[in-house]
Symmetry: D2
Subunit: 130 residues, 4 copies
């Protein structure tokens, strides 16, 4: 590896708070493995975060119906009443990447949803011993 590249890498990871290179490599490898599960359409865990205003007519009911149509992919849904208007829903999904992604896109795309974000992680099975 060229010395210059390694120097830049060391500067970056120091900023991020890593103590040494091997810790940073470990995290790079894990992120790579999670990414690989997505690419291979393996079973993954998705965490979908939504913010919406419950005053939009029928929105809560519509979001609930949509989730029930695919309840086999949804492990749980935590709802936080942020304030008088705003709802936060954090939906935990499990399934093949393509199924989780397409259901999430439909939920985020529902008229009235203010913001949606989908993040991914591993089911842990492909990360043993890493």
């Amino acid at each position: 590896m060229p010395g210059e590249l390694l120097e830049r890498f060391d500067r970056e990871i120091a900023e991020k708070g890593y103590q040494n290179r091997s810790e940073a490599f470990r995290d790079l490898i894990r992120n790579y493995l999670v990414k690989r599960d997505l690419d291979k359409n393996e079973e993954i865990v998705g965490v979908l975060t939504l913010v919406y205003d419950h005053h939009v007519p029928n929105l809560s009911s519509h979001l609930n119906d949509l989730q029930h149509d695919h309840y086999e992919h949804i492990l749980s849904n935590t709802h936080i009443h942020l304030d008088h208007n705003n709802c936060l829903e954090v939906i935990i999904l499990k399934g093949r990447y393509s199924d989780v992604k397409s259901l999430s896109d439909r939920i985020i795309g529902t008229r009235g949803v203010k913001h949606g974000d989908l993040s991914f992680t591993s089911t842990g099975k492909n990360l043993s011993g890493v």
Copy 2:
């Protein structure tokens, strides 16, 4: 304490799986202290469990609106999609007994709710060292 009463108590707690009397006394005292917090209208934690069918028109939206009107008493709401029809909601409330009880009664009493149950526990503050 009369011997007969103690004998009956020992038989009961053996059935429940207690190893000895002092363990059983400890639990009796704790339940008494939680009950006392309810009676004194102290701040308590309530856990409200609901089962309903999301196909009832507007039910999800109505339950959500009702909770937002009192969001300051609701810590979180976990929604499990039990099957294609049935929703489970487990709502964690915190507040004075009277407030938690009256909000829960309104939620359980909503037309379309199949079953509701409210249980109580302590915020832990009055159980230190027990």
Copy 3:
């Protein structure tokens, strides 16, 4: 039905806030049906509420290990950090009554748990059309 019994019933349900007898009957029947599922050891939903102090050595780890040994009966676990010392865990279980009850008893009986309470509801399947 004897008139005196019905009079007493009407007074009780008025105190509870019921508008009329048929609403109160409906709830009695539902509670009876949930109770019947328990008696018949059918599949039910249990909600287990725990309060404990996370400073007790190894308690969090022990509770987590115990739950993983029976993860097939646990749908989700919501943890609220009540204050600097006190933890609230609300564990949603699904399974035959005997399995849910015995796992809950072991969790509640763990040394260091301040208070535990198990409540039950239906999976909704046996309450359709009620």
Copy 4:
């Protein structure tokens, strides 16, 4: 705007499933506003996803202690027992970006955590009418 840029944009958003440009612009604006809240260190909502093996000695207890030290920033924590070994924790945080970020970095950086991911959303207040 140069025609070529717009053409490329239209191709991209068609792939993502947007019906028209204005929907895509709306989402771009919202993401920009969420990003601005982070840059200005405003109050935001963070959702931290962790996967770990509960067999690592003391890991559950350590993660729990760490969260209690900052319980005022944590709204709730949902724990899913993925299988006999793997735990999924989804922690909902609220606070200034810098506080949420530094607590999350400490949790993710704990030895034994297999994978961690932090995503952000708005508290909804700065997205009204968008």
